[in-house]
Structure formats: structure tokens, C-alpha cells
Symmetry: C2
Subunit: 904 residues, 2 copies
């Protein structure tokens, strides 16, 4: 028969799946001999059985009986006993912590009889009745589902009546009356009495935890985080200890190192004569943990010992919850502690120095996401005024600008050169132009998946949402902070997309020291210890990642300055050099000539004029990347992108005609723009199709590349150029371009007397290219997966059209947890990439396989690319260190990798 | 050692791959004891070896020696002998016949010496020298690659000089001089002498055939037809026999039945004292074959015997080429003969009646393409004037309209209700609006893959291209026919997209008798025998196909009238009922209200107004299809499709503003149109995304469906409704809609007291849906592959934007042979469909799988769908008989299926 209940002594921390995080760690501490109150854990399998059948397993009741009796005999008390009652807390504990799950019911076992026993034992009647009224309230709310506001109102009414300022001003009699009132509320709302039988309370609380697994919020969260639906939650039942008995009691939380800065030394808060609840409620100020040394030296020393034991045992920063009851220390919870990104790097490096963990393990404990966060510019908070409000940081960065309150104003102000921050109650697709124009976005409502948050992340804009303390008055174009400060249109504000802080005025922005370090402008001598320490920890772990990783890391860079930075940031080549921008600006006119050419001669003249310009563009990039591979993509976008917008031009032409004026440009361009207009440009004449359709275009680009390379070789450099053909769907397309490219390379080689390698490959960015990868490989020296476009065609939605329209709703509905444009969708797009990589390798062993979509810089996606055996990832220069780190983490040995995931 | 040369007696017709069509059939006839001139065939493997290495296999020369000696001893003559020369012809013969391949060199073995021997033997000096001059010309042109015009010019000059009207007016001396002139041309153009050594002529001709395999035209043709590049061609070497010796000689072609009508009885042409060349040149009129009975009764009877032998042996219509030399019959070629679609059906049915073939074999010998052709309306040619010209039929149908000569005029005339035929020299993308507006398109230039042809086929418009005899003068808006007839703008013309004929005036159009038959309006009594016979052959073979096929056939139909016709044509349900049109016309205003609704109440009011209208739509369709499944697709297109075009509206609004007028509609709608405007609507808010985004939309449609079904049930009918969700990419999307749909179905069932089946499935039209088919299957009762959209996303091109822009070029370049929107692309799209079908079946055995893209009516695609195990295809009502026939053919047993392909 299956065992559904484990005493703490029967478990350990490996049993996470069965006992949940809380239960497994309590078991671990118990077996370490640490002072843990006695208790037991009901397994996730019991929960799963209940959820599947609506019935608890038949044997569960007897098992709980058994373990409860053992608990009673260990503690020498009986649950709900009239004289000296055992009380217990019931808590949920799943494999992953999860918002929306039922948290805790304390003081189970109290009723009209046992409350008297508790008062007697504690020598404190007030304490006992306050515990009782808390039980009724907590139980009713979390187990019975009664609206919490009823209890809050009743409490407030009583306090009013008694003219009490705080709960502490209420008398024992007041509390007794409150218990009566609370029970009436329960009766009214549920049609049943509050259960006074202790065992009945316990069983109901256990079922309450089970049921909360399927609460709406928990389900949405799981869908979003892709946590399996069928894990279930465990339930821990622990003997109550009381930190609120007297001044020799108290409760606290502590960390074995500073989780904010990563500095060594314990760190925490302590509150005398209090329960955990009170710490959270924040009614009284907590003391720094160190004060405990004076209040209770013995408990303090014991606590330090425990913390040292835990850190050595877990080999990592631990956080703990503890309670001191009448001078005696009890451990209520521990886990490997959360920490800031900076702390993660510093602690990992410290633990290596201390000989606790290996460099591999240290690498496993930091993350690319953390590194990226550390590289963002940030506000110099020493120079900042107090924040007006705190929202939720939804898209990182530090934005400063004038507040504007609607989209048209944002666009208008931005058009005249102002930096603006768009402030809205919440955003919707109509706000898109304003969001594009703004430096940052601030909303009063919303969450991490609201429209503003999703769109801002997609655009890489700073965004703060859920700044609920602000009163936003869009009609009068202003908002009001809790302190009464009014910010009107045009007032400068600063928002911090990481912390969610909102400031009035301009807060100075400082570069990340890491970026200065990569750029070679970091001055270690003038930096403080923490910063120096952080920089050296990051450098050390990046170096280790470089040594470990199998994939190389390249950058997407179109301009020499980007290439320069990419190289400084550690890029080992350029994986995507787009040539589109080379046709913009003052060269637009040449492209117009190309498009409007009436005959071959005019077209050739336009191409000839572009040749020297392109050649010098390429020469500059090759010079920056001397000795490293540079993958140059032939022109990709449809021609009309180089001409004015069709609607705009139509309006101009029509208005000119209607008003009898002339608009020569509109007249000249409209016919061509109309001819080139496409209903779906993303699915139109672009990429290789364009290369094949416009005679001379491939020749122009390949000749410019070849001449630039030949020039560099003659100057003694080592250019390594790869020609990349975009939007290939069929091998025949690539064959045609390859034929032309090889011919031109041969011609230039002959003309210049140089030896030019003929490396020609293709983007794989269409599902058909994936399905026929074996055929395409026969004509390609390399594949570079263009996962942005591949995501668009695989899902059949375009980023521009959809990210701002229905993605927020899709995330709310749990259709996907993250935008597939941010993190590669493994099941769909990833399956295509995996298949294509395998087929290509079979058809042409040794073919070079990389990725140059934005996913190349996304940690989770990088792990996937490593797993399927790609040779390199290419990402924006700024993400290169992130990619190096994650490529290293992805390559860690199996034994370490067990605890490594991209999102840690 | 490999054998590279086979005497005719050593081969047979199964050796097609090795000996090519010609060689295999000559061998077969030889072994049947028919009078075939002696000869041998050099294998395709010899050709392949030559193409691979540039060298003929080392042993080939000796083998040819050997077989040539045998040939000489059989014929009792020696190649190029001075007294009685053996002459041979050299011909190519690949597995598939192929334009651009070198055809024939006759009279090899002639030189200045042997020509005298030939003259002596034939007793005809003129004949001998004419043969010699033909050899020089043919050899120089096809083997040496000398421009043919030089010889034609030299001949014309000599005729001018001699004032000769025809070649026959030239004397022997003239011909001798011509040989000298021709040899000079060869020397001038090739820098070498015409080879006079017979064996050198033979070897050069063999290599010429080998090389012609890689000629440009042949390569493009193979790419387009997907014929493998590496098959190679065989070479047949045959002793010459002469039909042009005297009046007891002659040459002819014959068919064992009439290949045009399919009527029984032999059929052919004969030309006295002539060679095959002369028949092709058309200088003299041929005689009906039957005349041969009077000219040479013995040869005629022998010919009839041979034809009977061949038809019984090949068990099919044969065509033959024969020559009579001095009264003796020689067979030069035979093959299973090409025939018209009508003949195919009639002959297949006759052969069944005659006990020659089985019904299965008969079904294998007809085709859906042929049936489709027979179902088009056609001109009543008995009522037609003589054609002005003949072009190439590029897209079938019979179009009548007023000639217009540019795209704007076509659009303008059509807008005022005129039927027009657009006449152009050739078309390009600028002509698209005119092509859309026209009933038919006529071009002077182009071919089957030119812009006009490809676009017209895509749009289902009648099109004739390559009407080269017409002089099209677009500047003056007229064209001139060879007979001087001038057709000006506005004159009525008629064009036949099948035959390529162009007529002046209106030619009456008649419905196909087959369509009348399916519609139940065919009057057998008043029809002629041929027509009656055709209708009964088609019916018989369709009935057999129905008995054979595994897949069922449904129709795509949105309106009751379409559903009615579909059922008459044999549809077994509706596989795709689109609901979009139900929101058009007068209901646009209701959709506007829905889109412009300011709050839930307004939106609900708009939905409520649509409900009864939708319900009655569905009721009408269900009534037509009572007892058969009807798959109704929820609304698919993006909302802006129901509003005016963004550019148009922007222009209206801007012009109104600029001129100080008001345009209330533009003002009212522009904000919504702007909000809903998408850069790529095909990749935007549509399908299931729209269903999830607009509250109440799914409820509205499902309720309308459910109420219509409940109503029908109450009236004693048997509605079988399936709800289909479009554009699903992730199972979660389907789950959400399914939940709503099931709830509404339950509600309506409860309200109406009926039992409604809850059949909910999805279109599979995105690559991601294919890749995650296993997951999606868990929430779907059926899949219907939407191969149009799937083709768009898999290839990353939209039909609207690309078919008219670069498809023609892609076909010319051999990137694809047929538009992937016409015939399913097996390697890419097909591979996805195959994978999805297999995965879905594994995840949910018995899930119903069908296809509702246009490929559902395409013969080649139907075979593929059958092969991968789909349950049904759904196509336009008109294609239903085609699909029935091809689904039957696809299911034929292996033994028959060997000779069956969709394209026969």
C-alpha cells in the first residue's frame, strides 16, 4: 500500500517531488539534528489522487491518525486538548512555489475549550483569544472561501466602537466578542458552523490545500510558467511554536549572506514578541538580526551555528525562518535563498574561493538573465529623490522624459525632439504609436503580462506597470502621487524598469560598470569594493564559461561601430550583417533610380552608383572583424520599404489633385509604389525572390563584398566573408544565387589576383526550408536559422501585427507563457529547427549551423540550441556576454547541469 | 563487362529505362515478328557514363562495331559502301519524350562516293543527291550546332536564281551545287570539314544525341516536369528504308482507333512517294489511310493485321509510323497513342466491352484532368466562324467579350458592366487589375508558364497565349489577324482556352453534356451517338471509381445553391462551409456595429441582430445536406475585411478635409479602420485569434449552428454538423473555443430538448499545428488540412502577392514546375501534412482527417492524400466528379496502379 504521509525524520531534500519544497527541507533540517518542531508531510501523490477522483485515498485518514499520534506523543500534548492543547499549522508546499496557492493556516486545534488550556499554559489569556480569532478568520478565508473583507470590517467596527487605535488596544473581552462575531459571519456565509472539532479542522485544512492547487490564479500561473498541471502539492503539518508569548520570544528571517549585495556575513530581521504574520503586516519595525545577540546571546549563537551548518550543507546561500519561544530557537523553514543578480555572481565566486563549490557549480548558479540585468544603465539612486511610487518593473531600463498622457501627444512631442514617458491608466492597441515614440511607459494598472508590459518588452522599452498608488487623470493630463505631488503634462519624470520606482524630475543615469569593463573604460581603482568584486566575479565566470562552451558566439551587427563593440564584448565574428541600412539615408535616391529604371541601362547605372558605397561599407566592417568570420546577408526587405508609404503617398497625391496643387514627388513615385504595394509584404517579393527578380542585384552585392575582401587581403588582412541568402524555401533558389555569386567571386579574384574563398550559405527561416533541409544543405556551406521569421511563419502571425494586439490576452489565457519571439517555442519552431539541423547534418556532415534570430541572445533558447548541436549563436552586441555565459552553462557536465536551467 | 548495345531482337518493351521509349518498342515489334528494319539501340547507361565523365565507355566502340557488322550482314550491305551503301538513321529515345532533345539524323552513310551507289541502286540520281544535301543540312544543324538559317538562305538563294517555285523544280546539278555550298557553310562555321567517313558520321551523331540531353531547353523542361536529371537518353540506329523511291513507296502515320473522338476503326494519313519529313513539312496533302487499300491492297491488309496485332498486344490504342519501300511495308515506330479526354473515356470503356482490359485498368487509363476538361463549357464550333488565329490554350474555358487593350480600360469597362477580353502583347504585374476585371486574356507572346498563363490559371480565367500570328497594336488599341481582319477596342471576340482558337464576334457557348448529365438535365434521346457514348463511359468509370475509392469526397460550399449542386455531383457532405459571406452585403452594417461598439451592451446588440440571420443561413445549408456531414468553419478573416480599405478611406477623409467638405462615413469609420489596420493581415488577428478576441463571437456562431440543427431535428431531419476552428497554432487555443462551443451546445440542447452531438475540430493550416498535431489531436474530433494557407506559411509567400509577381519567373527558372497552390508541394507542405496525419493518428486513433484546401480537387494531390491515409477530400462542387474519379484511381490495386499516375 502506498505511503502517503512522512514524518520529517523520514524525508530528505531529494524528495522534492513527493514532499514539496517546504516538506523536503524541513525533513533535511530534522535529519541534520537542527531544532525543528515535530511534524509530518502529506505527499503530492495524495493530492494527485484526490484531484483525480475527488476522494482522498482510503488509507490516508488512518495514516494521518498514526502520524498525528506520534506527533502528540513526541510533543507530549494532544491536539485541541482542554488543558494543554497541541496546536498545528498546515501549509502547502509544491515542487515550485506558486502564487495563488493556499498558504498557511495557523493555530489549528483551538476551540472554545482548548483556548482556555492555551491561555493557562501560556499564562496569557489575551494571547490565546487573539490566536483563536486569527484561526477563525484565516480558516474561514482560506479553507471555507469566505470573503476576507467581512472580518476586516467587523474588526474595524469593533475598534471604532472601542475607540481603539490598534489591535493591541482591544481587551480580552473584545477578542472573545470578535470570535463570536466571526463565527456568525462563517455561519451566515457558509450555512454551517465553524468546525470546533480539532481533527475536523485539520482534515478540512488539508483538503483546502489540495483544492487550492486548482484555484484559478494558480492554474493561470502554471500555464504561463509551463509548470505541469499534474504535479500536485504536498501538505506539511507542524506543531505550533509561539514567538508571541512574551519578550523572551520572537520571530525572524535570516540569510547566510547579504542577498542584495552578496557581501559576506549573516543578514536578517528579528521581531520580538511576534508571530510571522506580524512581520509581514509591518505594524512594528523589525530589528537588524545582529540585535538578537544582545537580546538572547545563546539563541543568537545557536542561530549562527545553524546558519553555518545549513550553508555548508546546502553549499549555497540559505534563507531561513525561525521562531524563538521562551528563549528556545526553532527552525520553521529553510531553502536555498533568492538573491539579486549581483549577489549571485559575488556569492558564487566567494564559494569557489572558500573551496565550497567548483567553478562549474559556480557557473551553474549565475544566469544570463542576471548578467543582462546588471548590464542595463541604471539610475544613480544616491542622487535620486525619494520615489513618488513603486509599481512593478515590467521591462528593464532607466527612462527619463516628460510625462505625456495620450498616444497622439507622445508621438507629437517626440516628433519635435522631446524625450517623453507615456503615462496611461492602462494601454491598448490604440496607444501603439505613442508607445513607439516614448522612451518609457508607465501604467497604473496591469501586470507582467498586460498589454503595456508585453509590448514594451517586445520593443525593448523601459516599462513600469501596476503603479497603483498613483491617481492618473488622463482627461486633465496629470497624475497625483500618494504624497500629494502632482505631475502634469510636460513635467520630467524618471522610471526604473527594474525596481518599478517612479521619480519626479531627472534622475541621473549611470552606465553599468560591467559595460564600462567590457568597453575597456572601467577604472577599478576608483570603484568601490562591491563593484570591483562584482566585476571580477563576472569576469571570472565568463572566462570559465568561455572555456566550457562548445558553441561560439557571434554578434548581429550592421555598422562598424556595432562590430567594434561586439568584438570588445567577446563576439567571435558577425553572424548577421544586414545590408538594408546601406540603402537608406542619402542613398535612397539611388534605390529610387533602381526601382524606377525604365531599361537595363538605367538600372545598371543605378547599380554602378551603389557599388563603391557598398564596397566601402563592407570594407569598414571587415576591418573591424579582421580574422573573424563575417556573415553578410544579401538584401532582404521588399523594395517598397525604400519608398514612401502607399497610403501616405496616395493621400498626398489625392489632396494635391483635389486642391489643384502639384506634388511632383508623389506623382513621380505613386505609380511605382502602387505597383510594388503588397497586401502582405512579409509574404511577398523579398529575400532571395527579390535577388532573383532584380537583375544585377546579387552581382552588385557580391562584387562589393568580394572587392572589399580583396582590398583587405592586399593590405595584409585576413577577411573571412560568408555570403548569406535570405528567405530561401527551395534548394533551386539557392542554386541560382550560388551560381551567380561564385561567378562574381571568380571574376573579382581574377581581376584582383587574390584567392577568395567561396562560402555561400542560407538563412533557414521558412518551414519549407526546414522540411527540405537535406536538399538545401547540398547547395549550402552553412545554415543560419533566422528564428524571428521562422516563428512568424510557423505560428502564422507577424510580430508587428500581433504582439501588441492579442499577445497580452494569450498570456492571460495561458496559451503561451512567454512571447515566442522572446523565447524559442520548443514544441513548434524548435521542433522544426531540431529536425532541420539533424537532416542537414545527415546530408552534409560538418555543415556549419548557427542561429541569428533574436533568440540567439535568449538564455533559455541558447540552452536549446546547444542541446540540438548548433555551432554558434549570434545576437546583438550587448547580449554577447549573456550568450557567452549561457552557452557555457548549457555545456556544463551532466552532474552539474542537473541543477542548471537557463532561467535560474 | 557491361553490355551497352542491344540488337532490336535482344530487347523488349519492359526495358524502357535502358532502351528508351523508341528502342524498347522497336524491340517489342521485332520480337512480335513485325517488319521492322534491322537496327540496334545504345543504352541510357552509356549516355549516363558519357555525361558523368565526358568520355564514352571504353568498350562502346567495339560493341557498336560488332552490332554494325551484324546489321550489315543482315541487310547484305555495308555502311557507306560505294556500290550499294547501307544508310542508317540515328534517333534519341529517352524514358520520357522531351522537347529540346535532338531528334533524328537520317541518311547517315552518304558521302561523295556512296551517293553514287545509292543513285544507282535506287535508279534515281535526284533522290540520292537530295538525300545527301538533307544529310549535310540535318547533321550540321543537330550534331554540329550550325545555325539552320544559313542553309535555308542558301536554298532560297539558289531557288531565286533558278526561278524555282518549289524544291522539286531544282535539277540534280542544282542539288549537287547545294551540297557543295552546304559543305562550305559547315567549313566556315565550324572550322572543319563535313565528315565524309560514314563511321565518323555515325559516332558523331551518337555523341550529338548524348549531348543534347543537357541542352538548355531539355534541362528547363526536366526541372519543370520534375524529371530526374540523371536518366539519360538511349540512341537507336536503324537501317534506312525509303518511302520516297517511287510511287510504290510512301509513308504514313496511323492510329488503331480515332484518337480524337475515340470512335472505333483505324485512322491515319498516308503520303505517296515521300519521307516522314515531307509529311511534317506539309508541302503535299496527305491521303486518308483508307486510300492505301486502292494503292497497295496487300500492304494495306498487312498494315491492318499489324495494327490489330499491336492493339491486342499492347491492349490499348497504338499509334504507328510506317514506310512502304517499293511496295514492302516497314514499321518505324509504335507507342501507346495519345488521345483526347473524350477518346480516353470512350476507348477505355470499349476495351472493357471487348474483354481486352478490366474495369480497373480502364479506370487507370482515364484521368481527372481529362474529366475536368470535358466539364468546361465550350464553344459550339458548328456555329463558329473560322478562327482568326490559333494560340496556345493556357487556361481553359470559353470567354466572350469586347476587346480592350490595356488594364485601366479593362477595369473601367468591366466596372460599367461590360464583359471584356484583355488583349496584350504580353502581361506583367501592372496588368493585374485588368486581368481581374476581364473574362479572358489573350496575348501574342508567352507560353504555358508566362505571366498571363500562370496568373490566369491561378484566377481560373480563360487564357490564350502565344497567338503569334496576330499583330497587336496597343498604342492604337487594335489587333490584325493574318487574313487582314482588324479587331478594334470594343469589338466582340471569343477565345477558347482549351484549343487556343481566337474568333471574331460572339461564338455561342454550350454547357458540357457531362455537366447537364450530373445536373440531371441531359437528354440522351436528342444527343448524338458520340455524346451518348461518352456520357455512359464517364458514368460507368465514375461508378467504378466510387466502388474502388477509400476516401470520401466532400464539397466546399457556402451557399445552399452550391450545396445543392455539390450533392448532385456526388458530394458526400460539405467539408468546408465558410461563414464569412454571411457577414457581407446588407449585413455589413451589423458587422460595423459590432466593430464600432463602445461597450459590451452595444456589442451584444450587434451580435443579437446577427443571430437569426446566421441561423437561417445554416438551416438552409443543413436542409440541402440532410443526413450528410456539414463542416462549418467559424469566422476566419480579420475584421477590417468587413470595412472599407484603409488607403481609400484615408484618401477620402483627407480630400474631404482639404476641400472643406464633409464625408461622414469616412470620419465615422476611419478611426476603427486605422485601429484594425494590419501590415500583414494574413499574419494578423484572424481565425481562432479573432474568435478569442471578440467576446461573444464564438457563442453567436455556435448558437446559430446549434439552433439551426435543433430546428432541423425537430422537423424530423438528420443534421450532422461539425464545428471547425480556423488558424489554430496551439492546442490551448482550440481548448478555449471548444469549452465555449460545448457550453453553448449544451445550453441549446437543454433549451430545445434535443440531443446535439458535440463535434468540434480544427483546420490544420499552420506549420506549428502540423508540428504539434499530437497535442492538438487531444482536443479535436477531426482535422481538416487547409492546404492553401499551409502552403502560404510553409513557403512564406502569399498567393495574392506572389502568384502574379514572381511565379512565372520561378517556373521559367525551374524552381517549381507547377504552382504549389495548384498541386501540393510534396517535399515541403506534403511532408508536414504527412507528419501531422501520422502524429494525430498515433495520439488519437480514429480521428477523422480530411483536406479542404483547393488541392482537394487536384488529381496529383488527391493521390498523395490517399497515400498518406486521409479520410476525405473536399473541393469545389464542380471538381467533385474529378475528385471521385481520382480518389478511385488512387485506390486501384498495386498491379494496376503501376501504370496509373494522376497526370496521365
Amino acid at each position: 500500500m502506498e505511503k502517503y504521509v512522512y514524518d520529517f525524520a523520514e524525508g530528505n531534500r531529494e524528495m522534492l517531488d513527493l514532499l514539496g519544497g517546504k516538506g523536503a527541507n524541513l525533513a533535511e533540517m530534522t535529519n541534520l539534528g537542527l531544532p525543528v518542531p515535530a511534524g509530518f508531510t502529506i505527499t503530492t501523490r495524495a493530492c494527485r489522487a484526490f484531484l483525480a477522483t475527488g476522494q482522498v485515498p482510503g488509507s490516508l485518514g488512518a495514516e494521518v491518525d498514526d502520524h498525528l499520534h506520534r506527533l502528540e506523543s513526541t510533543m507530549g500534548k494532544v491536539l485541541g486538548d482542554a488543558d494543554d492543547p497541541l496546536l498545528v499549522s498546515v501549509r502547502s508546499g509544491a515542487r515550485f512555489s506558486m502564487p495563488g496557492m493556499m498558504d498557511t493556516v495557523l493555530d489549528i486545534g483551538l476551540n472554545d475549550v482548548s483556548v482556555v488550556g492555551l491561555a493557562k499554559q501560556a499564562g496569557d489569556e489575551r494571547f490565546a483569544w487573539d490566536s483563536y480569532r486569527r484561526l477563525v478568520q484565516m480558516f474561514a478565508k482560506t479553507v471555507l472561501g469566505v470573503e476576507g473583507a467581512y472580518f476586516e470590517k467587523a474588526l474595524a467596527a469593533l475598534k471604532d466602537d472601542r475607540r481603539a487605535r490598534t489591535d493591541l488596544d482591544l481587551t480580552v473581552d473584545d477578542l472573545k466578542q470578535l470570535v463570536t462575531t466571526y463565527k456568525q459571519i462563517v455561519r451566515r456565509e457558509t450555512g454551517a458552523e465553524f468546525p470546533t472539532e480539532p481533527r475536523e479542522q485539520l482534515d478540512a485544512a488539508i483538503l483546502g490545500v489540495f483544492r487550492s492547487w486548482n484555484g484559478e490564479r494558480a492554474r493561470v500561473y502554471r500555464r504561463q510558467e509551463r509548470i505541469p498541471e499534474d504535479l500536485g502539492t504536498a501538505v506539511t503539518v507542524v506543531s505550533m511554536v509561539f514567538g508571541n508569548l512574551n519578550l523572551s520570544s520572537g520571530t525572524g528571517v535570516a540569510f547566510t549572506r547579504d542577498p542584495a549585495s552578496g557581501s559576506p556575513g549573516v543578514y536578517g530581521d528579528y521581531l520580538q514578541d511576534a508571530q510571522g504574520e506580524d512581520v509581514v503586516a509591518g505594524i512594528r519595525n523589525t530589528l537588524p538580526l545582529q540585535e538578537l545577540e544582545h537580546l538572547n546571546p545563546q539563541a543568537y549563537r545557536q542561530l549562527l551555528d545553524v546558519m553555518s551548518t545549513l550553508e555548508h550543507h546546502y553549499r549555497d546561500l540559505c534563507d531561513i525562518e525561525f521562531t524563538i519561544e521562551n528563549g528556545k530557537l526553532w527552525m520553521l523553514q529553510t531553502r536555498v535563498g533568492k538573491r539579486t543578480a549581483a549577489a549571485a555572481f559575488r556569492i558564487a565566486s566567494q564559494l569557489v574561493d572558500e573551496g565550497v563549490i567548483s567553478l562549474d557549480e559556480a557557473l551553474g548558479r549565475v544566469s544570463g538573465a542576471g548578467l543582462a540585468e546588471l548590464m542595463f544603465p541604471r539610475f544613480d539612486t544616491t542622487a535620486a529623490p525619494p520615489a513618488l511610487a513603486h509599481g512593478m518593473g515590467a521591462s528593464p531600463g532607466a527612462a527619463v522624459g516628460k510625462a505625456v498622457f495620450d498616444s497622439p501627444s507622445a508621438a507629437e512631442w517626440a516628433a519635435r525632439g522631446e524625450d517623453v514617458v507615456l503615462v496611461r491608466t492602462e494601454t491598448n492597441p490604440d496607444d501603439l504609436p505613442g508607445m513607439v515614440a516614448a522612451r518609457g511607459i508607465l501604467t497604473r494598472r496591469g501586470g507582467k503580462t498586460s498589454h503595456a508590459a508585453v509590448v514594451a518588452r517586445g520593443m525593448g522599452k523601459t516599462c513600469v506597470v501596476a503603479a497603483q498608488e498613483l491617481r492618473v487623470d488622463t482627461a486633465h493630463k496629470r497624475f497625483t502621487a500618494p504624497d500629494g505631488t502632482v505631475v502634469a503634462e510636460g513635467d520630467l519624470i524618471s522610471i526604473d524598469g527594474k525596481t518599478g520606482a517612479v521619480y519626479k524630475g531627472r534622475v541621473p543615469v549611470v552606465d553599468s560598470p560591467l559595460v564600462r569593463f567590457f568597453d575597456g573604460t572601467f577604472d577599478a581603482a576608483s570603484a568601490d569594493t562591491e563593484t570591483r568584486d562584482l566585476v571580477s566575479a563576472v569576469e571570472r565566470l565568463l572566462r570559465h564559461a568561455d572555456a566550457r562552451r562548445r558553441m561560439s558566439v557571434r554578434a548581429n551587427a550592421d555598422m562598424p561601430a556595432d562590430a567594434h563593440r561586439a568584438r570588445a564584448f567577446g563576439a567571435e565574428g558577425i553572424g548577421l550583417c544586414r545590408t538594408e541600412h546601406m540603402f537608406l539615408g542619402e542613398r535612397r535616391r539611388l534605390v529610387e533610380n533602381l526601382i524606377l529604371a525604365h531599361d537595363d541601362q538605367e538600372r545598371q547605372a543605378a547599380l554602378d552608383a551603389l557599388l563603391p558605397l557598398q564596397r566601402s561599407d563592407f570594407a569598414a566592417i571587415l576591418s573591424e572583424m579582421d580574422g573573424l568570420p563575417v556573415t553578410i546577408r544579401l538584401i532582404d526587405p521588399p523594395l517598397h520599404e525604400f519608398l514612401p508609404d502607399f497610403t501616405e503617398l496616395s493621400v498626398r497625391a489625392a489632396v494635391a489633385k483635389a486642391t489643384g496643387q502639384r506634388d511632383e514627388e508623389a506623382e513621380r513615385l505613386l505609380p511605382a509604389v502602387r505597383r510594388l504595394h503588397e497586401a502582405n509584404p512579409m509574404l511577398g517579393l523579398r529575400g532571395v525572390r527579390l535577388c532573383l527578380a532584380v537583375p544585377g542585384l546579387v552581382e552588385l552585392q557580391v562584387r562589393a563584398i568580394a572587392e572589399a575582401a580583396a582590398e583587405a587581403m592586399k593590405a595584409g588582412h585576413h577577411p573571412l566573408v560568408e555570403v548569406m541568402v535570405p528567405v530561401v524555401a527551395a534548394v533551386q533558389e539557392l542554386e541560382h544565387v550560388r551560381e551567380t555569386a561564385e561567378r562574381v567571386l571568380d571574376e573579382v579574384a581574377a581581376e584582383t589576383g587574390t584567392h577568395l574563398e567561396k562560402v555561400v550559405g542560407t538563412m533557414i527561416e521558412l518551414p519549407r526550408a526546414c522540411m527540405t533541409a537535406g536538399q538545401i544543405a547540398s547547395a549550402a556551406d552553412f545554415f543560419s536559422f533566422g528564428t524571428n521569421d521562422l516563428t512568424q511563419t510557423t505560428w502564422g502571425f507577424s510580430r508587428d501585427d500581433c504582439e501588441a494586439s492579442f499577445f497580452p490576452q494569450y498570456m492571460e489565457m495561458g496559451i503561451f507563457g512567454k512571447s515566442p519571439f522572446e523565447t524559442l517555442d520548443r514544441d513548434g519552431v524548435g521542433a522544426l529547427v531540431r529536425m532541420a539541423a539533424a537532416t542537414a547534418r545527415t546530408a552534409k556532415p560538418g555543415i556549419e549551423l548557427g542561429v541569428c534570430g533574436e533568440h540567439g541572445g535568449d538564455p533559455e533558447s541558447i540552452h536549446f540550441f546547444n542541446q540540438i548541436g548548433l555551432d554558434y549563436v549570434s545576437c546583438s552586441p550587448f547580449r554577447v556576454p549573456v550568450a557567452r555565459l549561457e552557452a557555457g552553462r548549457a555545456a556544463l557536465p551532466e552532474a552539474v547541469a542537473g541543477s542548471v536551467s537557463a532561467s535560474r
